[in-house]
Structures are given as structure tokens and as C-alpha cells.
């Protein structure tokens, strides 16, 4: 099974070649442009949020949108059936899609952090907390994308909603600023948005605060919920 899983991963990465122009634009130029633009119009006290917010936005696009659209396309092209018929369990195939998307998202993140360090003088006091926040966020976003792909039968709907949800969760949630800015009772609503937890976990990791782990706990809770929903949706297929 390990050998077959390795082949699946290689296949997934080979298919990325076809999307190279979009991958390069959305992975490099778009977030870098966004980082530099936001940095130039913000006060230095907001710099850590500009980094954590942009990384959150990037993770949302790279996982929720990307995983949902990839899985929906695979289902429409009959390839989930094709792979299951070859003896690979459906869950393993889904994990290979999730993993390849996750890895291709995560490998770009150090670049954003580096820009933060060089241009905005952001100091990272806990690399461990940062790594934990990034890995848990990527996995959680991927699970959410998987749920979207399996909950909606129409591929066009999956494509639309996965993009809308990523943008809503990036710009209608406190990812570029702390939740404390939002007045109560609206602040409570932001706690049902998973991206709130992602951005806060990343942000607190810069200062090395243990509060980062508390937010990671929230991410893990969302992951468990999305995993459970995904499991139920897969059984329904």
C-alpha cells in the first residue's frame, strides 16, 4: 500500500505541471504583491497581522478552494471510481490529493515569512508554534475543502462556493486584525470562522506566546468536526 500511495503522490505532483502559470501567480506574485501593498499602507504595529493574515488567505485558497476543486474534478472525470476499482481505498486517494495540495501550499509559506522578516522586521520567537499552526491549519483547510467537494454534487457549484468561502473567510473574519477590534456580540460570530483561529495561531507564534497553542486547539477541534463530516459524506457516496 505504501508503494501505491507513493505512486499516487507522484501522479498528483506531475499534474501540477499543467497549472504552472496559475500556480506561480497565486503562489508567488499575488501574495507577495498583497503583502507589500498592505505593508506600505499600514502602521508598523500591524505588520505581524499582515503576515499572518496573508498566510491565512493563502492557506484558505491553497487548501479549501484547491482541494474542493481538485476532488470535484476528479469525481466528475470518473477518476475516483477508476482509482477505487484499481484496489486503492477511496480514503487513501483523497489523502493523496489532500497531501499534495497541502505540501504545495506549505512549501511557499516560508517565502512569506521571509518577506515579513526582511521587509517588515517581524521576529519569530517560536518556530515550533509557527510550524504547528501552519500544519494544523493546512490539514483543517484541506478537510473543509474535502467536505465541500463531497457535499455538493455539482462541480460548478463546488468551484463557485469554494472560492466564495475562501474569500469570505479571509476578508470577513479577523485575519488581518485581532478579534478584539470587533464589537460584541459580532465578535462571537468570528469564532465560528476557522480562519480566525488560523490567523491568531500564526500571529501569536511570532511572539512565542502560548496563546498560539490555544488557537491551535481550536483548529484541531474544527479538523475533527470536518473529518467526521467528511467520513459521513464519503459513506454516502
Amino acid at each position: 500500500m505504501i508503494r501505491e500511495f507513493g505512486s499516487l503522490i507522484v501522479m498528483q505532483f506531475k499534474t501540477i505541471r499543467a497549472y504552472l502559470p496559475a500556480f506561480i501567480f497565486f503562489s508567488f506574485f499575488f501574495p507577495i504583491g498583497l503583502l507589500l501593498m498592505l505593508g506600505s499602507i499600514s502602521a508598523p504595529t500591524s505588520y505581524t497581522f499582515i503576515i499572518s493574515g496573508t498566510v491565512t488567505f493563502y492557506i484558505a485558497i491553497g487548501t479549501i478552494t484547491s482541494v474542493a476543486q481538485t476532488l470535484a474534478a476528479e469525481r466528475e472525470a470518473g477518476r475516483i471510481s477508476l482509482i477505487v476499482a484499481s484496489g486503492i481505498p477511496r480514503e487513501i486517494y483523497v489523502i493523496s490529493v489532500v497531501l499534495s495540495n497541502g505540501v504545495s501550499t506549505l512549501i511557499i509559506v516560508p517565502l512569506f515569512i521571509l518577506i515579513g522578516v526582511i521587509f517588515f522586521h517581524v521576529v519569530i520567537k517560536s518556530v515550533l508554534f509557527l510550524v504547528l499552526a501552519l500544519i494544523s491549519s493546512t490539514f483543517m483547510g484541506s478537510m473543509m475543502g474535502m467536505d465541500l467537494a463531497f457535499a455538493l454534487r455539482n462541480t460548478v457549484a463546488v468551484n463557485q462556493y469554494s472560492s466564495i468561502i475562501s474569500f469570505v473567510l479571509s476578508f470577513f473574519a479577523p485575519v488581518y486584525y485581532p478579534p478584539s477590534i470587533i464589537p460584541i456580540p459580532y465578535r462571537y460570530l468570528t469564532f465560528i470562522e476557522p480562519t480566525t483561529y488560523v490567523s491568531q495561531a500564526i500571529n501569536y507564534s511570532f511572539s512565542g506566546s502560548f496563546e498560539s497553542l490555544m488557537w491551535v486547539g481550536g483548529i484541531v477541534a474544527f479538523t475533527i468536526i470536518f473529518l467526521y463530516i467528511g467520513r459521513r459524506l464519503m459513506e454516502r457516496m
Binding site: 508503494r3 501505491e4 505512486s7 501522479m11 499543467a18 477518476r79
Partner: protein
């Protein structure tokens, strides 16, 4: 039952309240091509998915190559082309076939050897480096057939393998399937093209949630042959004549004529209509 490649016994499948298969019992023997015929929504694909182990029956038993089809080892001995399936558009023709071989448990050497042999056999050698999405519908279907054959399967499942193809591409796929049949492969084929079933299948099951009729194409035709279609070419007229009067009738004709049994399509329409 022991020498059956596929054996289903009293299979039921429900999706919630919806009954997709009702008490389906079918058999496939070694070297046979068996075709499942039925209208849209008749439960053909649902049955086929249970046979290749993608979904489980709600009730009843399915055995493929002597074991449960959900068994991974059994799946590795099968070749499947699911309905509406496309090869990986962003992989080359070679990679599509090679990686399917790897997924089916072949070593690098075996997968490479089998892929090269199949590309040659299926006339895809010149296109081995081409990205699959650039191929025509007929060539994509050939790639899928190569993907299904790369592990040298004992049993092949083809769910509507020619749907959406132009007549020439359909014929090409037929020729390939007939060649596989000559090699002694066992195949289960779903289609709603009656000419396809008649041309390729040794036995046919008419399915409309349950099996409504089964037999060889000639047996089925024979069962419905009480009335013959007689075309009188000298006058261009068509006559429908009862079996007992056929001799007398053709003797009365002056010019050239043709006597035909009812077509499979006539029978299909009749039995499906009666069953609805």
C-alpha cells in the same frame, strides 16, 4: 458456481428509499462477454459498481473470481473502465498507463514493460508523450482500455465504453474488444446500444432494476420469433407474417426477398415497455 468468474445472487441495492437493484442474479463464465442492457436509471451502473467493489450491496451476495469484490487482491486481478471516465488529462499517455500499473501493484519493470507492449498493441506508440487531454475521444478511450489491461486482468468491466463516440471510433473500440475476446478474456459490458450488445456479447441480461430477460442474442430473438418481417424487394413492401404461414408466403413471392427475425431493438422495446 465454482467456475463462474462473476456470480451475483439476489442482489438488492437501496439508496435511501430508492431501489436501484432488485433481486439480481447473474453469472459470467470464463471467456464470455456478457452485456447488461437497460434504459437510463435501470440500475446497470449501480450493479456494475457493486461487481467491481466500489459500493456494497444492501442485500444479497456477490462473488468475483471466487471472492468478495471489495477484497483488494481481487481488484488487482480486474480491469475496469467506469462510466464517463477520462484518463488523467495532465499526464502523458505513457504515464497514465504506467502509473495505473503501479497502482495495481506491478513493479517498475513490469509496469514499464506492460505499458510499452500495450501502447504498441493499441497503436498508441506514437502518442506516448502526448498529454492525454489533447487526444480525441476515441484515443482517450483507447488509453482507458490500456489502463484497464496493464495488469493483465482476468476479468474486465466496461461501463458504457463507447458512449459519446462517433461511429468510426465506436467500431475501433469494438474491434479492440473483439480482439480481447479472442484472447479469451472475460468481460462485463454495459451499454444501451443494442447493436453493440448484439455484435459483442455472448449473453445478454435485460435489466430494469431486476433481470427481465436473459439469454444469448439468438435465444432471445428465437423466443420472440413468432412473427417474421418479410421484405419484398420486387415491390418494396414489408410484410409481418406468422411463423406457420411463412413458407407459404415466401413461395408466393416472385422476386428477391428477405426474411428477418424481429431485431433485438424490437424485443428490447417490447420487454422494457411491458415491464414499466
Amino acid at each position: 458456481m465454482d467456475d463462474d468468474i462473476v456470480y451475483t445472487n439476489g442482489v438488492y441495492k437501496w439508496y435511501g428509499e430508492l431501489l436501484a437493484n432488485e433481486n439480481v442474479t447473474i453469472r459470467l463464465k470464463k471467456g464470455e462477454i456478457v452485456s447488461l442492457l437497460g434504459p437510463n436509471g435501470a440500475g446497470k451502473t449501480t450493479l456494475v459498481k457493486q461487481i467491481y467493489g466500489e459500493i456494497r450491496p444492501s442485500k444479497g451476495e456477490i462473488r468475483v473470481l471466487g471472492n468478495k469484490p471489495t477484497d483488494r487482491r481481487i481488484k488487482k486481478r480486474m480491469g475496469v473502465i467506469p462510466q464517463d471516465c477520462h484518463p488523467y488529462g495532465d499526464l502523458t499517455v505513457f504515464d497514465n498507463v504506467y502509473y495505473m500499473g503501479r497502482l495495481k501493484g506491478l513493479s517498475k519493470h513490469e509496469a514499464e514493460k506492460n505499458t510499452n507492449q500495450l501502447l504498441k498493441k493499441l497503436d498508441l506508440e506514437d502518442r506516448r508523450g502526448i498529454i492525454a487531454r489533447e487526444l480525441s475521444g476515441g484515443l482517450m478511450r483507447r488509453v482507458l482500455i490500456a489502463m484497464a489491461l496493464v495488469n493483465e486482468p482476468e476479468f474486465i468491466v466496461l461501463d458504457e465504453p463507447t458512449v459519446g463516440l462517433d461511429p468510426e471510433a465506436r467500431r475501433e473500440v469494438w474491434e479492440l474488444l473483439l480482439e480481447l475476446k479472442r484472447e479469451g478474456r472475460t468481460m462485463l459490458l454495459t451499454t444501451h446500444y443494442l447493436d453493440e450488445a448484439e455484435r459483442l456479447a455472448d449473453r445478454i441480461y435485460f435489466i430494469n432494476k431486476r433481470v427481465i430477460l436473459s439469454g444469448t442474442p439468438s435465444e432471445i430473438k428465437g423466443r420472440f420469433s413468432t412473427i417474421y418481417e418479410v421484405i419484398d424487394y420486387s415491390t418494396g413492401t414489408v410484410h409481418y407474417v406468422e411463423e406457420e404461414k411463412i413458407k407459404e408466403f415466401v413461395q408466393s413471392l416472385k422476386g428477391k426477398f428477405e426474411v428477418k427475425l424481429p431485431s433485438l431493438e424490437d424485443i428490447y422495446l417490447k420487454v422494457v415497455k411491458n415491464d414499466s
